[in-house]
């Protein structure tokens, strides 16, 4: 049986090396990163980075609806790709920015259970989508994406919305009002749509990096 033993040692070593050094050690180094406080003297900013923990309930909806199959959440460096220069992919929403949006770093995703960096980019990147639209825009877009962009390939997420009888005034959050058999109904976002939009709105991953982190120190 020495043959089998030699074989097992062989694959144990050849596969154990990448397993340990590429996966296990980096995993425990990079998981559960803590937010870092800005140093006002150096950073000219107060508070912590990243400032807001993302909405976990929203991230769960994002996962189960498979959003990551079409949307990425990572800005690549300007020397490789155009990501940083694209309009609306960073904080700057107006004209052509002077500098590209910065590429992401592990700390940008601190506090997230699983960073949905994405599988394909059939739709725009969402790394900093929180700057881009307000809550109501997202509701309308999730309910009927082709109302915003007729060419959009995004599915409609109507199953995340609820139909209610209108009592008195139509809700401000209503995305549509329909009349059936003389009764007026309003379509309002359900629990899950709210959570999902909270998650989307929390994505602002291009804030300035604290000098302590940028210099490679985390203490």
């Amino acid at each position: 049986m020495t043959k089998l033993r030699t074989f097992l040692i062989g694959i144990g070593v050849t596969f154990g090396l990448p397993w340990l050094f590429l996966v296990v050690i980096p995993f425990f180094q990079l998981r559960a990163l803590e937010p870092v406080a800005y140093d006002f003297e150096v950073d000219q900013r107060a508070g912590i980075y990243p400032p807001n923990y993302t909405d976990t309930a929203g991230a769960r909806v994002y996962a189960r609806e498979g959003c990551a199959y079409c949307h990425t959440q990572m800005i690549r460096p300007a020397q490789v790709a155009m990501d940083g220069w694209r309009l609306g992919w960073g904080q700057e929403q107006g004209g052509k920015p002077e500098f590209p949006t910065r590429p992401n770093r592990p700390e940008d995703y601190a506090g997230e259970g699983y960073a949905f960096l994405g599988i394909q980019r059939s739709g725009p990147d969402l790394a900093n989508v929180g700057w881009r639209y307000d809550r109501q825009w997202h509701y309308g877009h999730l309910y009927n994406p082709r109302e915003r962009h007729p060419w959009s390939l995004m599915p409609s997420f109507r199953h995340l919305f609820e139909k209610q009888v209108v009592q008195g005034v139509v809700s401000e959050e209503a995305v549509a009002v329909v009349e059936e058999d003389g009764v007026e109904y309003q379509i309002v976002p359900g629990e899950e749509a709210r959570a999902l939009v909270s998650y989307l709105l929390s994505m602002k991953r291009d804030l300035p990096v604290p000098a302590a982190l940028a210099n490679g120190r985390t203490d």
């Binding site: 043959k3 592990p106 599988i119 394909q120």
Partner: protein, 508 residues
């Protein structure tokens, strides 16, 4: 030494007859588990192709089937469900079925107590059913190639472990002699898969707060599942059937061993290049790219070995279904590895990363290489475990051409479409445009992908019916195997041949 020459020695004739009888006994003994895995696998393949078509249609025409009560069935759920059905339903079950048969035959040990295998197989199927329908029902996790609800993985792991233990036991009680290269690949797969699968699932589904390491582990898992399960099983099969059908030992056993250890050494480092330029320490994707390029060494070693083994007998692909499918798979293996290198190049990543080209690579690997190799093996195995021959060479021919055109159209449209998509996304002139340009550039190619799925569905419905007829023992009662045409006498008779890995083959 040709088989006819060896038959002139009487002692050899006796031992050949005994060998033949023993092979029949072994084939009989593994009949039920192998049939179970293959039939279930092919059923999942048809289902996966249908889900794949639906997902593809939904991606380029999102208003298709867009009823109010059906909006939950959209691309974001269909795509992971289709991949789960394809990988765990078809890929693994075909892989396990073929591995069991190969292992028993190469170790020359008949199977005792196949019940464990059947029970494990049933649990595996329960896991896949929960996985696929769990994703469709909205319990998916979006981790690539393991998007099923978290509760599924222990079930799959336990079932696979039971099967792997059986394979190791068979290996340990094998008839004495030097193990053949296929046995090493199969054994490797038995150890690598549980290791990779357990690590990835612990880090993604069990430990909370994986942060950026979540997708990194998932990308590593995807690459390793491919290179350390599907590739070893596919190569084990190719290393058995190519020498078997061309009736010649492999060109160089030493080269084969080098190829094996090359794969073992490099595969584990690949995968994270998916996120190059992303929020990970830059060395991680860089190592992934480098290892993917180094993987060309074992790939070319295998390609050379297969090429020289068949040299001068390439014409046999005209006659033998098993060889034709296997050779297609072996060529696709080289093709997919070259494509992997293109996708791993950092300077090109702006044009390829996150595009359809990546999905084209995945399908070329899973279907063009792995599935085609498995089809080849199944065309050889099924007649031996059912005792009848394939009904119609036309159906096999149809399956082959429909599959090849389908997968080439699929990979072609996705790779070209992906590059078009990447180019549009990366065009500085589009900096302030909406995403319409990217969407419209790639849409035509997505329609091409839907057509390709139609081809694959057609091919595999025919294949499924053919397999079912065989399993019901409605095949041809004949001693003549079903070939694509009459093999000319002077060009070698593919059915009279040596057993790869035996002393006889080693002598030759």
């Amino acid at each position: 030494m040709t088989p006819t020459e060896t038959q002139t020695e009487p002692a050899v004739v006796t031992s050949r007859r005994e060998d033949h009888l023993q092979r029949i006994e072994i084939d009989r003994s593994v009949r039920w588990p192998v049939t179970f895995f293959i039939v279930n696998g092919v059923l999942w393949l048809v289902f996966a192709a249908m889900l794949g078509l639906l997902a593809s249609l939904k991606e380029h025409s999102p208003t298709f089937l867009d009823y109010d009560w059906l909006t939950w069935l959209h691309f974001g759920r269909l795509e992971p469900a289709a991949m789960t059905a394809l990988i765990y339903g078809w890929g693994f079950q075909a892989g396990i079925g073929v591995s069991l048969w190969l292992m028993a035959r190469l170790c020359r040990v008949p199977l005792r107590n196949g019940m464990t295998l059947l029970v494990a197989g049933k649990f595996w199927n329960v896991g896949v059913v929960i996985g696929v329908f769990g994703i469709l029902a909205g319990y998916g996790t979006s981790a690539e190639w393991m998007p099923f609800p978290a509760l599924v993985w222990p079930l799959l792991l336990l079932s696979f472990t039971a099967i792997a233990v059986w394979m190791v036991i068979i290996f340990r009680v094998r008839r004495p002699g030097e193990p053949y290269i296929s046995e090493w690949y199969l054994l490797g797969a038995c150890f690598w898969f549980p290791w990779v699968f357990l690590t990835a699932n612990l880090f993604i589904h069990v430990f909370p707060d994986s942060g950026v390491m979540g997708p990194a582990v998932s990308a590593w898992f995807k690459s390793n599942l491919l290179l350390l399960y599907f590739v070893p099983v596919g190569l084990a099969s190719a290393y058995y059937f190519i020498p078997k059908v061309v009736a010649r030992p492999i060109f160089s056993y030493q080269l084969a061993i080098t190829g094996f250890w090359g794969l073992a050494a490099f595969a584990g480092w690949t995968g994270i290049q998916k996120y190059m330029g992303g929020p990970l320490p830059a060395w991680m994707p860089a190592v992934g790219s480098a290892a993917t390029i180094l993987m060309l060494i074992p790939v070319l070693v295998v390609a050379l070995n297969h090429f020289y083994t068949t040299r001068g007998r390439h014409h046999l692909v005209q006659y033998s279904p098993a060889l034709r499918f296997t050779v297609f798979g072996a060529m696709a293996y080289t093709g997919m590895s070259l494509l992997a290198v293109v996708l791993a190049l950092f300077p090109l990543s702006g044009y390829t990363q996150f595009t359809y080209a990546e999905s084209g690579f995945a399908l070329l690997a899973l279907y063009g290489f792995f599935s085609m190799t498995m089809f080849g093996a199944i065309y050889y195995i099924i007649p031996r475990i059912t005792g009848c021959e394939w009904l119609s060479r036309r159906l096999i021919n149809f399956h082959f051409w429909c599959s090849s055109y389908g997968i080439l159209a699929m990979a072609g449209s996705l790779v070209v479409g992906g590059i078009a998509q990447g180019t549009s996304m990366n065009n500085p002139a589009n900096w302030d445009g909406t995403f319409v340009g990217v969407v419209m550039t790639s849409r035509g190619y997505l329609i091409g992908r839907s057509l390709a799925w139609c081809f694959l569905i057609l091919a595999n419905v025919v294949f499924f019916c053919h397999v079912i007829l065989m399993v019901l023992r409605l095949g041809r009662r004949s001693t003549e195997p079903t070939m694509f045409g009459e093999v000319p006498a002077d060009k070698g008779e593919p059915e009279v041949m040596m057993e790869p890995g035996t002393a006889e083959a080693a002598k030759a």
